[in-house]
């Protein structure tokens, strides 16, 4: 097990290098650059812009820039932002808690509700509940996240006025947990909606598959009652594909969080990424790409280890 984890960690190094090269190249291929904002400012001369270019190291060839950035990363130095000169890692970590709060709440809520709907749908297949859940999930998956976000703001914030339309705090209420909760409701609802839809469908099919296995019939023939059959026999077997799915779904969850954060003005990593993209903040963009890649790799590794712990047939 340990040697497997070690191997996987080593394998992730070339993967991360590949991701960084592609990310860096794409970033520089995009038109415009971090200095474009200055060209519209009449008080900044061309000489000033050239000087800034040299200071930021943007005058050097792209591969040199990459090597400089990469050698910094290798020693744990994530670089500094172009605007403000703050350490990139610090900026990302500062936003991380907001994103994890949003993502974590949405994911736990979605898995809880989604799995419950899925299990009930599998047990009562083709019932009215199952039909409604299945078509409801189709609807939820057919609309883009931003549309749900805008609708939620329109109804709950503007029409009904129940909840704030965006942000994380009211001014001066930074330590008020109730205020935070009120701000959390809408973005979590919107983000959780799509994940719930996905999870209810996956859970349903995972359970349906398991419930028709021979060993479930054996459990019934032993006289085990329905709850014991479901929890002790079906659940662990159905959990396996779902854990693998969680590892795979992490990137999608990240991009979903990005859209949701942007709509609701949530000061998390998604907003940071969009802002950095607009400003062509290369160091932040690269930092975020690496951070996300790392997160996904670790997530998948954890999923694989969990599956190995669950299933004695899987040898790592």
């Amino acid at each position: 097990m340990l040697s497997y984890v070690g191997r996987r960690v080593l394998q992730s190094v070339p993967l991360l290098i590949g991701v960084s090269i592609i990310g860096f190249a794409l970033m520089h291929l995009a038109p415009g650059g971090p200095l474009a904002v200055y060209t519209l400012n009449p008080t900044i001369t061309n000489q000033d812009i050239e000087r800034i270019r040299v200071v930021l190291g943007l005058d050097q060839p792209v591969h040199i820039q990459y090597l400089k950035w990469a050698s910094g990363m290798a020693t744990g130095n994530w670089g500094f932002t172009f605007f403000g000169g703050r350490p990139v890692l610090g900026v990302i970590l500062e936003r991380m808690s907001a994103t994890f709060l949003l993502m974590g709440s949405a994911l736990s809520l979605a898995i809880l509700i989604g799995c419950t709907i899925g299990v009930l749908g599998a047990i009562r297949r083709y019932s009215v509940f199952d039909m409604m859940a299945t078509s409801g999930a189709m609807v939820a998956l057919s609309f883009p996240t931003f549309w749900f976000g805008l609708m939620a703001i329109y109804f709950f914030a503007i029409k009904l006025g129940w909840l704030p339309s965006g942000g994380m705090y009211e001014l001066g209420e930074e330590d008020n947990a109730v205020d935070l909760m009120r701000h959390l409701v809408l973005p979590v609802m919107v983000l959780a909606l799509v994940i719930t839809a996905i999870w209810s469908r996956y859970t349903r099919s995972a359970f349906l598959e398991v419930m028709h296995q021979d060993y479930m019939r054996t459990a019934k023939a032993k006289g085990m009652r329905a709850p014991a059959r479901l929890l002790r026999h079906a659940l662990p077997n159905a959990l396996k594909p779902l854990i693998a799915l969680l590892g795979i779904e992490l990137p999608a969850l990240f991009s979903g969080a990005l859209v949701t954060e942007t709509i609701f003005g949530w000061p998390g990593m998604g907003r940071l990424f969009v802002d950095a993209l607009n400003m062509k903040e290369y160091p932040i963009l690269m930092g975020m790409i690496m951070f996300t890649a790392l997160f996904v790799i670790v997530g998948n590794l954890v999923a694989d280890v969990l599956i190995a712990l669950l299933d004695p047939r899987v040898r790592l």
Binding site: D214, R217, P236
Partner: protein, 327 residues
């Protein structure tokens, strides 16, 4: 043997499936009695309704799609059809057990052997986990698994097919049921392992007095293990009787055909193996008369029109045929 009371009796058992345009009757009025301590072989081709019959007895069929009806399934004086699902679950694995054809997939792959045998002991006998484990070790020893202390910690994939079937037998017999239904228990196993498993079942039966309903398509298994036999064809029992008499002088032309088509070493070389011409009629497309009439060499006009019912023929034998052989 004749005097022993019936522990399990099915009366006019029917299993149907709703299909577009009607009901497909896969088991069509099966009746039999299983007596204390005896082995009744239920034999027939694939699709004759043997497995459905066995699953119906334990009410393990999913309904829908399956529709189960009977005049009664009497088990130790109770009609199983009238029981609630909870009361039925109390009986399964305790008074009535079952082992299945597929030892490879019938055990939960994520659970140790020990836990899977403990389960019915804790569930039905109310034993503590520690006492149940003692019993489990003892059971494993009895079904012939060497090193039970190691086996309880193993997972199904670490055992061979024969070993897994022994574990299934241990699970089924854990609570000393009065009836064991064994659905093709040896079909998926090597011939040598088959013989061991059958011998084990016989030994445990003698020890515990369990009545066994042995379902198989293999006449050799019946000859070796069963006391009485019921031959199924197209969802109905066409002949029953003591094994020796039935094998010696079959009454139904179908039984006769089955017995003749067994390959024998002593048969003359070069000759073709006798077979029954034609195929089993599909359920739902059964003729009005005898289901075997179209394939029968002795059929008369009566056979096409009227369905024969099981009639006593003496010596504990019954046959459903208008023109019984050796009669």
């Amino acid at each position: 043997m004749e005097a022993a009371p019936a522990v399990l009796a099915a009366r006019n058992l029917r299993v149907g499936f709703r299909i577009p345009g009607g009901v497909m009757q896969a088991v069509d009025g099966v009746s039999f009695e299983l007596r204390r301590g005896e082995t009744l072989g239920l034999v027939g081709e694939s699709g004759s309704g043997k497995t459905l019959t066995s699953l119906a007895l334990l009410r393990l069929l999913e309904s829908p799609p399956a529709e189960l009806s009977a005049d009664g399934i009497d088990f130790e004086g109770r009609d199983l059809l009238g029981l609630s699902e909870g009361a039925m679950a109390d009986l399964r694995g305790a008074g009535l057990s079952m082992i299945f054809q597929e030892p490879m997939t019938s055990l939960n792959p994520l659970m140790t052997i020990g836990r899977q045998i403990d389960e019915p002991l804790v569930r039905h006998l109310g034993l503590s986990k520690r006492v149940a484990r003692e019993r489990t070790l003892d059971l494993l020893r009895r079904v012939g698994i060497a090193g039970p202390e190691m086996a309880v910690r193993q997972y199904p994939h670490q055992l061979s097919g024969g070993m897994r079937q022994r574990v299934m037998i241990a699970i089924a017999l854990a609570c000393r049921p009065s009836v064991l239904i064994a659905d093709e228990p040896t079909t998926a196993l090597d011939v040598t392992v088959q013989a061991q498993i059958l011998a084990l079942l016989r030994a445990l039966q003698e020890e515990m007095g369990t009545a066994i309903l042995l379902i198989t398509h293999d006449l050799a298994v019946i000859a070796e293990t069963a006391h009485r036999v019921a031959v199924m064809y197209a969802g109905r029992i066409v002949e029953t009787g003591p094994v020796a008499a039935l094998f010696e002088a079959p009454l139904h032309p179908y039984t006769e055909g089955l017995l003749r088509s067994i390959p024998r070493i002593t048969r003359e070389r070069g000759g073709d193996l006798p077979e029954i011409p034609g195929v089993v009629p599909a359920p739902g497309a059964l003729p009005a008369g005898c289901a075997f009439a179209a394939r029968c060499g002795f059929a008369v006009a009566e056979c096409q029109e009227l369905r024969p019912v099981l009639e006593p023929m003496g010596g504990g034998r019954e046959v459903a045929c208008w023109r019984p052989r050796h009669g």
